[in-house]
């Protein structure tokens, strides 16, 4: 049953694409202030899991609760209207792999668009908050630039600020640094670490083992659509319980063990 003390409660979620079972019976909870890193090989269903949480993909089975409230379908199995679903989605911020900024709007307008148009908050208040968020991610000087004129790292910092402007209860990150040149990864991770440190509740799908090791409160290891292992990062990286996790760490995170992680 839903546990209201958790920000996110994923209960038995399954998803198929045709014959392919992408997620099978996934359950986990995220408490307030936690940073959960979802790790796993490519094709293990990490992104699909994230997209099921805010119903960008509709789960075939299972239930998702945001602070105790069902998302998508009610307990009685009734699918929500677009309007209800949209209202819940405004409480979940999302950061995309390819940034997904709105190209026709300036940086500042990107931050203000949904709070004003969807949340109907007063524009003066939204603007002040947006300017503060841009300062926080170090992009005050880019407020009037269009996204196309920014570097990848800058775009992703705008993406994070845009998500924060919604004052979300939960932030989802879908491989936020995978599309970046290596030298630009650091500036994005700095912002994410800061958020984790401030107690933002986050679910992060990533391949950045350094970040997972020292910013996550918990690791969720997925393989072939199943949660194979869940553990605090120290234990996961130093003493994984399963053979699959051991192989994964060796292949993807070998350099972490050698102290060569990038930040």
């Amino acid at each position: 049953m839903a546990d209201g003390s958790k920000v996110l409660d994923v209960a038995g979620v399954s998803k198929r694409f045709g014959d392919l079972e992408v997620l099978s019976d996934i359950s986990f909870q995220v408490a307030k202030g936690e940073t959960v890193c979802v790790l796993g090989p490519s094709g293990s269903g990490k992104s699909t899991l994230l997209r099921c949480i805010n119903w960008l993909e509709r789960p075939d089975a299972g239930q998702i609760y945001l602070t105790g409230t069902e998302i998508g379908v009610t307990g009685a199995g009734i699918v929500m209207s677009d309007r209800e679903l949209s209202r819940l989605r405004t409480r979940i911020g999302m950061v995309f792999q390819h940034f997904a900024l709105w190209p026709h709007l300036t940086v500042l307008q990107n931050l203000m668009e949904a709070p004003i148009q969807v949340q109907k908050r007063p524009s003066a208040e939204v603007r002040d908050e947006a300017l503060a968020l841009l300062a926080k991610v170090g992009l005050s000087d880019k407020r009037d630039a269009f996204p196309a004129k920014l570097s990848g790292g800058q775009k992703q910092r705008v993406g994070i600020a845009r998500a924060l402007a919604m004052r979300p209860d939960l932030l989802l990150f879908d491989e936020p640094t995978s599309a970046l040149d290596p030298e630009l990864v650091g500036e994005v991770l700095v912002v994410m670490r800061e958020l984790a440190h401030e107690g933002m509740t986050m679910v992060v799908v990533t391949h950045e083992m350094g970040f997972a090791r020292d910013a996550a409160t918990r690791i969720l290891f997925l393989d072939r659509g199943r949660v194979v292992e869940t553990a605090p990062p120290e234990r996961f990286f130093s003493a994984p319980e399963t053979e699959r996790a051991r192989q994964f760490i060796q292949r993807y995170a070998g350099h972490v063990a050698n102290g060569g992680c990038r930040t």
Partner: protein, 218 residues
């Protein structure tokens, strides 16, 4: 020859009112066609197969009909099924419906070429239905499709010349009246050609200002 143009000059009021009517016809029907396309295009992109199929049939069918024939049908044909429209209404309706099909296809093409992620971000940030289309989908679409829409507007201006056959007093009709009244075909028609050209230059200027907006965002 100079004398012929002198005659055309003496009839300038007729030509200018023709130019005015051509402008009104083109602008009104282009705007209306674009508005209708805003409804048709989401239908073309719809996951509902039956809806997409019906609209696809209309768009493809309409684009295969010669405009002159379509104008004949609206003005001369519809009265036999009990729908009688005056020449102005017929002209506007014909131009609008005919070009709505083109506009819908133009926007569909531009939409299909847009990246999916920004729209998905719109959904994830709580936009839905009309708000999603109006705030997130449409603006980049119009910027991307601006030059092609401008091109279609030029097509509309030229198509409007056909409406002379239903006695609409537009520019071609005015030029044709002047030539039949004074027997100055070359001077009358060449003057009309230059006036059409001037109108198209105005459209081109509009297109390049949209293009500047788009370039800043690219």
């Amino acid at each position: 020859m100079i004398h012929d143009f002198g005659i055309v000059w003496s009839e300038r009021n007729l030509l200018l009112s023709g130019l005015g009517n051509t402008t009104i016809l083109s602008v009104l029907s282009a705007a209306a066609a674009l508005l209708i396309a805003f409804v048709l295009t989401p239908a073309l992109m719809s996951k509902q197969q039956w809806l997409a199929g019906i609209v696809r049939g209309f768009v493809d069918g309409m684009r295969c009909v010669p405009f002159l024939l379509f104008a004949y049908i609206v003005y001369y044909g519809l009265p036999s099924v009990g729908l009688r429209l005056d020449n102005w209404t017929s002209g506007l309706v014909a131009l609008t419906i005919y070009n709505a099909a083109y506009m819908a296809e133009i926007l569909r093409g531009a939409w299909a070429a847009q990246p999916r992620e920004p729209i998905e971000a719109g959904i994830a940030f709580g936009f839905s239905n009309l708000g999603l289309f109006r705030r997130i989908v449409l603006p980049p679409l119009l910027l991307a499709a601006g030059p092609v829409i401008g091109n279609q507007m030029i097509q509309i201006i030229k198509d409007s010349a056909f409406l002379t056959i239903i006695a609409l007093p537009e520019l071609t009709h005015a030029a044709s009246s002047i030539q039949s009244r004074h027997y100055v075909p070359f001077a009358a028609f060449i003057t009309a050609v230059f006036l059409y050209w001037g109108l198209c230059l105005v459209i081109e200027a509009g297109v390049s200002s949209i293009d500047r907006l788009a370039m800043a965002r690219r």
